[in-house]
Symmetry: C2
Subunit: 381 residues, 2 copies
């Protein structure tokens, strides 16, 4: 199986490349380093500086004997992408090449415009390159649970049967997001679904919840292979941010009343979900949507768990409730399904005190690198 990872330099992209090569896949990757550029421009650099791709893959080859071929390329360039698909005889694309920050998308007109152009543009490019290369090539696209928002009904996995005035039909599950970034993911889904129907494409759209974790199980023990771990207000997901705050004596920044509930997933489980998606490709013209999270938590619950784990390793952490910088409901119904991956055999890594303590110990190795200036919310909407 020849897999192409778009966005291989990212938090999920690089760990996925290691994970899949170890499991026998031939992995090729593309990145345009936009994430690094944005991190520099917004003073949101990752916890651990990672080498550029060529250096990283050379080193990985030395450690493991596995080759990962990479291209520094913008996947919005359809002809370049098509050429890579053909040269590398790709049969599965993992599309992670999107601007992934909600705050960045809401920063200003330029960042918003970039987010639309990059995210919808990269998805359109992937679609067009696949149509030209081989319409049977499986596209696995990273969406977000945020596409659904927080509806007052149970969240199904992508689809819903609607009964209305005595008739019924099946539709994409209603989606209404709480940032421009999340809205571009809704657009991606609509675009992919149109080309599934009209061009017979095979698409898996993964509605992923916030991911956490620094350690990639099975990866060689060298800083060069660590994920692109962010704890800042722009790219940092909430649990990663809380852990870094606790380790440096900064009160945990809970936005609003902290009742916001989401589905979370361990980085290693996210990798396994993507492999399960590769192994369970949809048929021609089919779009499979899977909700990719393992446990539901409120922000308050996460904060409490971090406080408790911190105390176990001798840290007296505190919570600071900030006015919510985001446009989102705080008190809301939230019941989301995630049977899909469980049915495919996912063995979830549980977020519990044991994991959290170990997670904090791992991150604490890098405590001196944590910059307190990067954790407070700088963008409001």
């Amino acid at each position: 199986m020849n897999v192409l990872i778009l966005g291989i330099d990212g938090y999920i992209g690089w760990p996925l490349a290691m994970f899949l090569t170890e499991r026998g896949y031939r992995v090729v990757g593309i990145d345009n380093y936009d994430r690094r550029r944005i991190a520099r421009e917004t003073d949101s650099e990752a916890l651990v500086e990672t080498p550029l791709l060529q250096e990283r893959t050379d080193k990985y080859l030395g450690f493991t004997g596995f080759e990962i071929k990479t291209y520094q390329e913008d996947c919005k360039n359809v002809s370049a992408l098509k050429k890579i698909l053909e040269t590398e005889a790709i049969d599965t694309i993992i599309h992670l090449a999107e601007q992934p920050s909600a705050p960045y998308s809401m920063k200003d007109i330029e960042s918003g415009s970039y987010t639309i152009a990059n995210n919808v543009g990269s998805t359109f490019s992937v679609i067009q390159a696949v149509i030209q290369h081989n319409p049977k090539c499986h596209i696995i696209k990273l969406g977000t649970m945020g596409e659904y928002g927080t509806p007052n009904i149970d969240i199904e996995e992508g689809w819903i049967d609607v009964n209305h005035n005595g008739r019924s039909d099946r539709f994409l599950f209603p989606r209404q997001a709480s940032s421009l970034y999340h809205t571009t993911k809704i657009m991606d889904t609509d675009l992919l679904w149109f080309y599934c129907r009209s061009a017979g494409l095979r698409v898996t759209d993964l509605m992923q919840g916030p991911v956490y974790g620094l350690e990639v199980y099975g990866a060689p023990n060298d800083h060069a292979f660590l994920p692109n771990f962010h704890y800042d207000d722009i790219f940092g997901t909430v649990l990663n941010r809380f852990v870094c705050q606790a380790l440096t004596g900064i009160p945990l920044t809970v936005y609003g009343n902290g009742s916001q509930t989401r589905g979370y997933i361990n980085l290693n489980d996210a990798l396994r979900c993507i492999e399960l998606s590769i192994l369970n490709a949809p048929g021609e013209g089919e779009m499979v949507i899977r909700n990719q999270f393992t446990q539901l938590f409120s922000v308050n619950k996460l904060a409490e768990m971090v406080l408790s784990a911190a105390s176990k390793i001798g840290i007296d952490a505190t919570i600071s409730q900030l006015p919510n910088p985001r446009f989102e409901k705080e008190d809301h119904y939230y019941h989301a399904k995630n049977d899909s991956f469980n049915d495919l055999g996912l063995q979830p890594t549980m977020l519990d005190q044991e994991f959290l303590t170990s997670f904090m110990n791992t991150v604490s190795t890098f405590s001196s690198r944590i910059d307190p200036k990067k954790v407070m919310p700088r963008i409001k909407w």
Copy 2:
């Protein structure tokens, strides 16, 4: 009331400018002439060549005494747009500045990419300029009935209450379109709805059916003021195309079995609907969606009506059933609501034999300009 029309050079834009000035509105317009450029590039020029905006508005001033100020500008330029909003003290924007052709959006990668960038980009620019200028400025956006597609349930006006597992919520009506162009309109709606909720914008989204007609009631009798009437396969809506085909002895090009049903509207009714939308602005943070059509017809029914009207004026027209070049259902349920404008007092112009005969007589004045090469479908998807 100071109204800004984005896309004032278009089939609806110019007639709307005349209609609104006659009714006492101060009208300002913007166009970047992209429609003219695309028409030239695709050999799809309109039936009657119309003057450029400055010449047209000068002439209109001479005929009527009404001034229409225009800017040759791209409304994707947020700062230019914002400056115009401020200079002209605009309180209502009619956003018609989109690439409106489904076939063109499916022509090739470049035209598809342009359609996404232009349509979603112009809507984003309007949103951002309004937020900076005055969030209370009413945005009236031209959507399309094609956003809904052809669902197996009744089509409501934009919203639907969904009951699911004993709970309920109200959502945007499910949408799945049958071209890239129509999909960009879905994206526009999602974008506008996000900024209604997060920035308190006031938006009317008009789900318009195919428009027909050449005559603008009340307009001065001069070719310079005729709408940008297209009968080609790229920009020509079906009834306008049928009329031109009948007049030049070309069999009416029915795509597929002709059972496709849509909601149609006379150009003059479309103008009146937009005025009714101006007069009934939503509140802050509210998005009103109105279905803008007056009558449902199948393509076969339209073709039969044109045949019958043609015979009344001594023309023996025929029908040619072509393999459907489009991705669309031919046999489908179609029951769409349009109470909204009727409730606001719209007096619909009926598409009947009398209207059709008069319409054909008007168009026949220009019969010699109809180029038979422009009517056959050139783009398939």
